[in-house]
């Protein structure tokens, strides 16, 4: 298991050795191989017997790693989205050296995300969060676009604040319990009962993660970062990076370290609902495809958090399922926006229109993504939203449940108006000669669309697998 971290890392080292420059051309193939094998591995891990075999710690290094169902889902998602990012980036980054650098960064990301998923100790968790964050700064600024630079500056500042909060929290925890291991902390905290210092630690850590996840009111950095970063990077950011940094870590820390109490549930409920609403309303007023998707991201992450806040197992499964779905459909939509950026050069919706005739595949897959985001049956997004809303009602949070349904309508409203402005209606004369985006963009879009439909249609099976994984 530790190989999942070590192999990408050592391959970076090998490829960057100065005397092995001839080897550098193989990095593309090698990384595709790495991503694919991780996908296969995580798919196999759905069967519990394989998982236990696979998760048996390899005593090569004394790493204290562990893998559970949530981790398997994360491994699958990170490898999938990295793979698609790599494929999409192939048509954006043409220069040999820059491409090499970009792929190296992706390998860094893989190694960091795998570490983030598997560590079982709070300080290592923090370290891997930091690695992921640093790589994401570099990735966002990769094009050296001035707007992206200014966006990433805001991100760095806020993210650093988040890191400070988290480190202080870890310090307090270490002071209280004397260890950084998840289980040790969990037991110590539960024996000692409630004390204000521990609550301070909890608040510090959770707020740090809220900033990383971009939840209202900690979300200021998010819209600009998502919309100004280059096309392939925004797929990675929206699809997995910020989710893994914020949401996955939040789930992990709350479940394995601090415990989901009703107090923290209330906070999550308020923060999540605020994110759902502000994200949705914010998206409604946007005139740029990518910016709209960024606000929509805030809103969808809100759903995940609200599902978590319902504090029952159904809500937890719904939250993880929505996490998965959101990663898939949001990266699909960003892949489509990459297609637009590539073929037309702008994602400003006022200038677009009628592109479904010229770019049929992009238009169709984007409809799939939109309907899944808005929760229309039988697509994947419908089921996860349904689970979350049912969980809210089960826990007695009727008002929040109704708000969630209402915001789902808003989601449909803004995404459909986007679809109409971009793909339907009259074709602008300027775009009469526009062609369908290249193979490297269309292929990921089709595969992601197929995942959405497949997961939606085979929902009973998926649900069983999820219960098996998360129980």
């Amino acid at each position: 298991m530790s190989l999942l971290i070590v192999i990408p890392f050592f391959s970076i080292l090998v490829f960057n050795l100065p005397f092995l420059k001839t080897l550098r051309k193989a990095i593309f193939i090698w990384s595709i191989f790495l991503f694919l094998s991780q996908i296969v591995l995580s798919c196999c891990s759905i069967s519990p017997s394989f998982l236990t075999k696979f998760a048996k710690p390899l005593h090569l290094f004394n790493f204290n790693l562990n893998l559970d169902g949530l981790g398997v889902i994360m491994l699958f998602l990170s490898a999938t989205i990295l793979l698609f990012t790599l494929i999409v980036s192939h048509s954006f980054i043409k220069e040999e050296k820059r491409r090499f650098n970009f792929i190296t960064l992706l390998l860094f990301t893989l190694s960091a995300l795998n570490g983030l998923v598997m560590v079982r100790d709070i300080f290592s968790l923090y370290i891997f969060v930091e690695i992921t964050a640093i790589i994401s700064y570099v990735l966002i600024a990769f094009d050296k676009d001035m707007r992206a630079m200014s966006a990433v500056f805001k991100y760095v500042i806020l993210s650093t604040v988040a890191s400070i909060l988290m480190v202080s929290s870890i310090a307090i925890v270490l002071l209280l319990t004397g260890d950084t291991n998840f289980t040790v902390i969990y037991e110590a905290l539960h024996m000692s009962g409630v004390n204000p210092l521990m609550m301070l630690a909890l608040s510090l850590f959770v707020c740090g993660l809220f900033i990383k996840a971009g939840l209202v009111p900690f979300h200021g950095w998010l819209p600009e970062v998502y919309s100004y970063s280059s096309a392939s990077v925004s797929i990675l950011l929206a699809g997995i990076l910020s989710k893994a940094l914020g949401v996955y870590t939040l789930i992990r820390v709350l479940k394995n370290v601090f415990g989901l109490t009703s107090q923290i549930g209330t906070i999550l409920l308020v923060v999540g609902t605020a994110s759902i609403l502000i994200g949705a309303f914010g998206a409604l007023a946007q005139k740029n495809f990518k910016k709209m998707l960024a606000y929509s991201s805030i809103s969808q992450v809100g759903y995940i958090i609200v599902g978590l806040a319902s504090l029952n197992p159904l809500g937890f499964i719904g939250a993880v399922f929505h996490f998965f779905n959101h990663s898939i459909f949001k990266s699909l939509l960003f892949v489509n926006s990459a297609g637009l950026e590539k073929e037309i050069g702008t994602t400003d919706m006022a200038h677009l229109g009628g592109l479904s005739k010229r770019m049929p595949i992009t238009a169709t897959t984007s409809v799939l993504g939109i309907l899944s985001a808005a929760g229309i049956p039988p697509l994947a997004g419908f089921w996860s939203k349904l689970l979350i809303i049912i969980a809210l009602f089960v826990s007695g949070h009727y008002v929040y449940g109704i708000i969630a349904i209402f915001a789902s309508v808003l989601t449909l409203a803004y995404l459909l108006s986007m679809q109409r402005m971009v793909f339907f209606g009259k074709l602008n004369e300027k775009f009469i000669s526009v062609k369908e985006a290249g193979f490297s963009i269309v292929l990921p879009a089709i595969i992601l669309g197929a995942i959405i439909v497949g997961v939606g249609v085979l929902y009973p099976l998926v649900f069983k697998a999820l219960i098996l994984l998360l129980a």
Partner: protein
């Protein structure tokens, strides 16, 4: 004890200087100073591994990176600096007010940190926990460093070439 307090005061002074100074160069040097003081503290807390790490990375490598980057920029004139200062004042006049308000609220709430330390029986030494038992920290640290260095190289190296 007195020595400890003295070192801590030194740390605060160095940090303040680093934040307050107008010159980026001095600020970077200030950062190195802070790290240096921190290293001393770590030595005194008898964790030499951490101290060495801090010294080499935070006091050595990072300021070097900063200074080399700063050398590529050009300074503002006095007048421009004044304008920036005034604009900043205009924009953030409410910050001190906010701090006062939060302070008042906190004091009104009268939070009494009734702290009892529920240390477990088999509590290990903190240094032991942080450095000796977890080789994954080291791998993590190395990845952080490499990633940071790599990022700085690909983001700033080319622009240096452009200028020369």
């Amino acid at each position: 004890m007195i020595l400890n307090i003295f070192i801590l005061i030194l740390l605060v002074i160095a940090a303040l200087w680093m934040v307050m100074t107008r010159s980026l160069l001095r600020s970077a040097i200030g950062l190195a100073l802070v790290s240096l003081v921190l290293t001393i503290i770590m030595f005194r807390l008898s964790s030499p591994l951490a101290a060495v790490f801090e010294l080499s990375v935070c006091a050595g490598l990072i300021p070097v990176l900063f200074i080399s980057t700063i050398s590529l920029t050009y300074p503002l004139s006095k007048q421009e600096m004044m304008e920036h200062f005034k604009a900043r004042l205009r924009r953030f006049w409410y910050l001190p007010v906010l701090v006062v308000i939060v302070g008042v609220i906190l004091s009104l709430l009268k939070i009494k940190p009734d702290i009892t330390l529920p240390l477990p029986e088999s509590a290990k030494d903190v240094r032991d926990v942080l450095w000796n038992l977890r080789p994954i920290y080291l791998i993590g640290q190395i990845i952080v460093l490499l990633a940071g260095a790599f990022g700085v190289v690909i983001l700033f190296k080319d622009s240096k070439k452009d200028e020369h």
